[in-house]
Structures are given as C-alpha cells and as structure tokens.
C-alpha cells in the first residue's frame, strides 16, 4: 500500500464521485453486461426484456470469462455503443 499526499485544495472528498446521471431514460441505450457467473444470464435477460417493454433500447454483452476483467475491445465497444450500463451478476 502506498500513501500519497493530496496535491489538491482538499475541497472534495477522496472518494471519486459517481458520474452524473441523465434526467430520464427515454431515447437512451442501456447496455447489459453479463460477467459470466452462473445463472446471471437468466436474470439479466429478463431485465433486458422488461426494459425493452418500456421502449428503451437495450444491447446485451458478455464477458468471455468470469475470472478476468472484460477485455479492452469489449469495454471500448460498450462505451461506444451505449449510454448506461447494468453489470451483473456478482456473488
């Protein structure tokens, strides 16, 4: 573990804040990323169906293996194709 000194004015918390969210989901595309743990696919597929019923565009993606981080090309593709992501199912 490395300890660094904060170079900033320290007006913000050390935790990086979440990205701001949009006001509404209309017109946006939601990506659903299956991280390849078992039974997650059924859960996520159902989420995708229900979201689609609301008229919101959905795209499905899957990590090739649960044991490693999603490959860079996949992450780049997701970032280019969707506005928001639901990632699951961790246990």
């Amino acid at each position: 573990m490395t300890v660094l000194l904060d170079p900033t004015s320290e007006r913000s918390p050390t935790i990086r804040p979440r990205l701001p969210r949009p006001e509404k989901l209309d017109g946006l595309t939601i990506g659903i990323l299956d991280i390849a743990k078992s039974r997650g696919d059924v859960f996520l597929h159902r989420l995708g169906e229900r979201i689609g019923e609301r008229g919101i565009a959905v795209k499905h993606y899957a990590k090739p293996t649960n044991t490693r981080v999603a490959p860079l090309p996949l992450r780049q593709q997701i970032a280019a194709e969707v506005d928001l992501v639901i990632e699951g199912l961790s246990d």
Binding site: T2, L5, S9, E10
Partner: protein, 480 residues
C-alpha cells in the same frame, strides 16, 4: 516495542560498523555486568558479544526516540530523566557519567565516534514518517494494492496528461528541505478556486512535476509572481485565448540548479526548465482547480501550457538581465512571469547591421495576434546570441534596441482600419490620418537565450490586449 529505558541507570547505543564501538566493547561488557548498563545495537544484533543482554534496535525506534546522532552514545538517567550523555569513547567522560573508576585501562584516552544509523540521509525521513513527526498536514491518500499508482493519480485528475512522480511523504519531506520557509506558510489564494496554497502544497505538486528540492525556491517565487494581482491569473487561465504563464529565470540560481539558457533553451531535455514550469501549472490545476474545458476556456491553448520555463543567457551579454531591467539588483536571483504563448521564429541570416536586424524583428512583431491589430498584445522577444552579437558589436544597448523597435512598430492607420488590405479585422475609421503603435509603452520585453550557433531569434506573444486591462508581467525575487 516495550519501553525499556531505566528510571535510574545507564543506556548506550552502538553499532558494529564503528571502530570506536568495537574498541569500547569490553568496557560496555563490564558496565553491563556490574553497573546495569543497557545496550542498544543499531546494525548487527549479535554485537557486542561482550553484552549478552544487548537489545536489537535495528528498527532504530529507540535511537530515534533518544535522538542519537553519534555512536557510541552513553546516557545516564535519574528519576526517569536524562541527566547527561557523552559521545564517542572518552575515558574521563565515561567515568564521570557512570561513577566507575578505571574504565578501559588499556584503551586510548579518547576516540571519536561515528555517525549513527538513524540520522543517515533517507533514514531520518522514514523514521519521522513512521513516528508521525513530519508536520505534514496534507490529507493522506492510500492507494490500494489493487491499484496502479499512475492510474490512481490519473483517475483522481491530478495529471496534466503526462505521468507524475507519486508524492509520497518521503519525497515531499525531502522536497521541503529545499526551502527554509515554514511548510504551512500560505503563499496566497490560487485562482480560480481561490484555495490557499501553502509551501507544503506547492511542494507536493513540485514532487509530482519531477522537481528536485533545489528547484523549490524558484517554483515558490513563480507561484508568488502569478498571485500578484497585476498578473491577473484568473483571467489568464479563463481566457479563450492562447496564453499561459511563461517563466523566465535570472541570476545565480540558474547555474546552481542547472537550468538551460543555451541550446534548445525553449525546448525539451532539461529537468529544471521542464519541471519548474510544470510544477507551476500543476499548482494552478490541483490547488486552484484551473482545468481545460472547465474554467480554462482556451480555444486552442498552446504547448507551453504543459510547461514554459527557461533561463536567460546572462553570461557574456552586454545587456542587463531582464530582472535587472525590471528593477532588481544585479546578482539577485529572480523569476519573471509573462502571460504568453508559443514561439514565432525570426530567421535572419543576412543582416550585418543592427538597423536591418531590427527591421526583421519589427516585421515579425507587427504580425502578432493579427497584422491589423494595434495596439496589440505584449511581446517577449528572445534574442539569440548571434543576433545579440550584431547589436553588441554596433554598441547598441538594450534601451537603444527598444527605442528602435517601438519606432518601427508605429503603424499608419491606413493599414489598420477595419477593411484595409481586404481584412474585416482592424480599428475604427476614426483612426484615419494617425499612426498607432503596435505595442503599449513597455509592451515589449527583451531577453537573450539560445545556443551560440544559429541566427534564429523568437517572439513569445502575449495576451491581447496587453497592459493593465489584461495581464502585466511580474518579477519576484527567489528566496531560499
């Protein structure tokens, strides 16, 4: 570690790698056996063999607590307090302190000690950090083992786009050795956030920029300079125009810290030039929260906003250094900050006389910002040594060159009015019949820099429009 200091008794701190400690080992053994001496060893726990009950202080905790500087050190405690100590081997002193006669009969009278391990460079900083005695007040940020240090710093937005040197406590402590100033001294409020910049906070950013400790006084002077109201740092940052702070350094500090005033002085490759300029920008970014596409609205900016800092070439110059021109005494180290950008090259390999060369300079000066603009931005004219030689050989002082340049930059309104030369830009028709100077009085500054070969000078342009309504250059002394 339990506190084993005696209420009443003797303590010695030694190391094997010290001939005097080795010499005194038999005495230590006798005192341990007969007088209750406790011995702490700094390097090799098997030393001294003469003291079976010696205590391992390789972690140097006790040495640090006792503020040991030399080994062997012998200390006497009474009623829980230190009442005396002596360094090295000195029979008279040891006998006085211990109250025991006839110590070390076959040893010389005295023998000097050696430097203690706990005050070796680097070690003392680590101990201060461990004992939380650093006096550093910046918030500590723990980077998890999952995280790469570089990625962690990028993710937190600390970087200007390039990798940073991680500002560990050790590095910041070491950086603060470069100044005698109190780390908690507040230099001022950095725009746009108007957050307080302490010497310590500047040091943290100086570490990240890659500065050596000896650069810190120059960085501090540059920060003080941009905080001067007349520099208008907020405006300089927030503008849609190109400028950033350009730092020119004068005086003995340049050679002392190895700055470049010669070949490629405005380019890459010199640590001091690059890191000092960078540190100033990181201070504005991290303490002031001045960042592109946030408060910094520059349309294009310029590469100098990463770092733009160089030393004037004063040696052999017939002209006074910029800092002296601006009021400092010869031989003082100083920085001058100028809101500027880029470099407009002036190629003149044919002029043999100062008049011709001055006309080359003026031709380029007149093009700054827009050929139709007058008065226009300030300008920092960087004259290379070969061009300076032309002026020197003709006996032209700096003042003479200034006079000539201002005269050559007096432009007839007919060239400047909006629409003239088929360009919509320009001044009002009411200018007709007059001349307008390209520059406000004092709008040109001249420095000498560059390699000895090459007839290539350059202009660092300023912020339209120059002068008190925008940003004025500021000169500050470099203080240790």
């Amino acid at each position: 570690m339990t506190d084993r200091l005696p209420q009443n008794g003797l303590v010695a701190v030694v190391k094997r790698d010290c001939p005097t400690c080795v010499l005194a080992a038999p005495v230590l053994g006798a005192l341990a056996r007969d007088s209750g001496l406790t011995v702490y060893t700094q390097d090799d726990p098997s030393f001294p063999e003469t003291v079976p009950g010696r205590i391992d202080d390789t972690a140097l905790d006790m040495s640090h607590r006792l503020k040991i500087e030399i080994v062997p050190t012998l200390i006497r405690f009474e009623a829980g307090r230190e009442v005396g100590r002596t360094y090295g081997w000195d029979r008279a002193e040891w006998q006085r302190l211990t109250g025991v006669e006839g110590l070390g009969r076959d040893l010389p009278e005295t023998r000097p000690g050696c430097g203690a391990k706990n005050v070796e460079p680097g070690v003392i900083e680590r101990l201060k950090i461990r004992f939380n005695e650093t006096g550093l007040r910046s918030r500590r940020i723990a980077i998890g083992e999952d995280e790469d240090e570089q990625e962690a710093m990028f993710a937190r937005g600390w970087s200007d786009g390039l990798p940073l040197a991680p500002p560990t406590e050790e590095r910041v402590l070491h950086m603060l050795d470069g100044t005698a100033r109190d780390p908690q001294e507040v230099l001022g409020l950095i725009p746009p956030a108007l957050a307080a910049a302490t010497v310590e906070k500047v040091a943290v950013n100086a570490v990240m920029a890659g500065c050596k400790a000896e650069y810190l006084p120059v960085v501090l002077a540059a920060v003080e300079a941009v905080l001067d109201e007349s520099f208008a740092m907020h405006g300089v940052l927030a503008t849609t125009m190109f400028v950033g702070p350009v730092v020119v350094v004068n005086g003995p500090v340049c050679r002392r810290i190895g700055m470049n005033s010669k070949g490629n002085a405005l380019g890459q490759g010199n640590r001091a030039n690059a890191a000092i300029g960078r540190a100033l920008q990181l201070v504005i970014r991290n303490i002031g929260e001045g960042r592109p596409q946030e408060v910094d609205r520059a349309t294009l900016g310029n590469p100098g906003k990463l770092s733009y800092c160089f030393a004037e070439d004063e040696e052999g110059s017939s002209w006074e250094p910029l800092a002296v021109e601006r009021g400092l005494k010869p031989g003082q180290s100083a920085v001058t900050v100028f809101a500027g950008y880029g470099l407009q090259g002036i190629v003149d390999q044919k002029s043999r006389d100062p008049e011709s060369l001055a006309r080359s300079f003026a031709g380029s000066l007149r093009a700054l910002s827009n050929v139709k603009h007058a008065p226009s931005c300030d300008a920092l004219l960087v004259v290379c040594p070969e061009h300076h030689r032309t002026f020197r050989q003709a006996g032209w002082s700096k003042a003479r060159l200034y006079e000539e340049l201002y005269r050559l930059c007096e432009i007839p309104a007919a060239e400047l009015v909006a629409g003239a030369q088929g360009i919509a830009e320009g001044g009002p028709a009411s200018l007709a019949g007059k001349t307008v100077n390209k520059f406000r009085p004092g709008g040109i500054m001249i420095v000498r820099a560059g390699g000895d070969a090459g007839m290539f000078s350059g202009i660092i342009a300023g912020w339209s429009a120059g002068g008190p309504r925008s940003s004025l250059p500021v000169t500050k002394e470099v203080r240790n």
